[in-house]
């Protein structure tokens, strides 16, 4: 705990915050992409340590949050079928689709099981050859090598009753979509450290060049975040727009080649719908044709389900950095982690859930500009 004690003493942190204040000459908007970073920023009050000229907006980097309602409804439909063992990471069980959540389905008797690793689901399949075992494969690039290995091993070991409902999302296409959107406010990015531990950061170099935007690959610890902010602000103030690596102790330019190779063996890039944002071209993984027998979407014919999000929810604007949770009229009242209305409240790593958990709704209630925004419905 020495490190946290040091952080709480504030010496290092306040010295970096002071340097940021000395560096900044005008307003800048920075986005952190990873949900873990969002959580850490709000937990340690990083956004309140830095000068007001530097605004942090929170990106779409929580995979649970951005899993589309349609995909959650498909999971629900498959898990409801007789004979199916539906497996998932624990985070997905409480996320409400339009037909309810997986945990409620389990309480009614469906065989829904939380697993630690996707390989656990393959093991359950080989132990239950008479049952269909489906794994809900969600995540960003950090999780892709684990999910790819499960499909790869199922095929290699001939576990024919294992399939994966894949809903993978990719960070760089989402960053490009944010930068291209009308009204974009984001001028610099804190890149996602653990995603880049797998993928490296070559892809981010072309983004930085094409959109003239600084990207600093950053860790999730409080001092990491402050350093990442300082490096990004220095670039902005000097008119540079390149990729820098604050998190060199975990990230190299090429990432983890063994992991990347297996991901490309099993998955290919395809379009993906993001909850709160909509469809983004080439922003997700699909299971390759050679592995189609393990693709739950091909194995189970689930009808397209029409879904509708709450009209009050502004999570789409929050995920694009246009608004903050405290700008929402429903935040903390009609929308809470117990009864979420949309993407950014459904998981602890969502920006709204992080603000809620650390009491930020108290601030928003005291702001006249926000209390004036009464629900219009």
């Amino acid at each position: 705990m020495k490190y946290l004690d040091e952080y709480r003493d504030g010496g290092v942190a306040s010295s970096i915050a002071k340097t940021i204040a000395e560096t900044v000459t005008r307003p800048w908007v920075l986005m952190e992409v990873c949900g873990g970073q969002t959580h850490s920023i709000v937990r340690y009050g990083i956004d309140r340590m830095i000068p007001p000229e530097v605004e942090l907006v929170h990106g779409p980097g929580c995979p649970v949050c951005v899993t589309s309602l349609e995909m959650i409804d498909k999971a629900h439909a498959i898990a409801s079928r007789p004979g199916v063992i539906f497996t998932s990471f624990g985070d997905m069980l409480r996320v409400p689709g339009s037909r309810g959540d997986l945990l409620t389905l389990k309480s009614r008797g469906a065989d829904v099981r939380v697993v630690y690793s996707p390989l656990d689901a393959v093991r359950i399949a080989s132990q239950n050859p008479a049952r269909e075992v489906v794994f809900f494969g969600i995540g960003f690039e950090t999780t892709a090598p684990a999910n790819a290995m499960a499909v790869y091993r199922a095929r290699k070991e001939g576990v024919g009753n294992f399939s994966m409902l894949l809903s993978h999302v990719l960070v760089p296409p989402a960053m490009a979509a944010i930068l291209q959107a009308p009204g974009n406010r984001v001028q610099g990015f804190l890149g996602p450290g653990h995603v880049c531990a797998i993928m490296g950061y070559r892809e981010y170099e072309s983004l930085a060049e094409r959109y003239r935007v600084p990207i600093v690959i950053t860790g999730f610890e409080p001092i990491d975040l402050l350093e990442g902010i300082l490096m990004t602000v220095r670039q902005l103030e000097t008119g540079r727009a390149v990729v820098e690596n604050q998190y060199a102790r975990a990230v190299t330019r090429d990432g983890n080649p063994a992991a990347r190779a297996l991901v490309l063996e099993v998955f290919e890039v395809g379009d993906r719908k993001w909850r709160g944002v909509g469809s983004i071209p080439k922003s997700g993984y699909k299971i390759r044709y050679e592995y189609r027998m393990h693709d739950a979407e091909k194995r189970f014919h689930v009808e397209e389900i029409a879904t509708e999000e709450s009209s009050l929810c502004i999570s789409g604007q929050i995920l694009r950095g246009l608004k903050k949770p405290s700008d929402c009229s429903a935040f903390g009242t009609l929308c809470t982690p117990q009864k979420p209305l949309g993407a950014t409240m459904v998981s602890a790593e969502g920006a709204c859930a992080a603000y809620y958990q650390y009491g930020r709704f108290l601030d928003s209630a005291s702001l006249p500009a926000v209390t004036a925004q009464a629900p219009t419905a």
Binding site: L103, P145, A146, H194
Partner: protein, 99 residues
């Protein structure tokens, strides 16, 4: 759920051609696939995400990073499957044999 959690690799073994190991995270030990950190040996510290080691890390960094993750409440994935077994299920679902 995109953050890796550091732990100490206690032993390495082969399971059906896959490299696996036991990794200790604070008070919890889990089986972890080492295929993406193939050069890791017992005594090393590795960063683990959903049951897969994704990189090696030095001991001090591991201790520091784990402390921050615990403080953030981000180590839940290590025990989510164990906690889940305590959740109620009302009985056999169609297609399932009675236990």
């Amino acid at each position: 759920m995109c953050l890796g959690i550091p732990g100490e690799l206690l032993e390495v073994r082969d399971v059906k051609g896959l490299k696996f190991g036991k990794v200790r995270f604070g008070g919890i030990t889990r089986d972890v696939c080492l295929e993406y950190a193939a050069d890791a040996v017992a005594g090393d510290y590795v960063v683990v995400h959903v049951g897969f080691a994704i990189s090696k890390i030095d001991k001090d960094e591991a201790a520091r990073s784990f402390a921050v993750l615990e403080d953030l409440g981000q180590t839940g994935e290590l025990t989510a499957d164990m906690a889940e077994q305590l959740l109620p299920r009302s009985g056999p679902w169609p297609g399932e044999e009675d236990p």
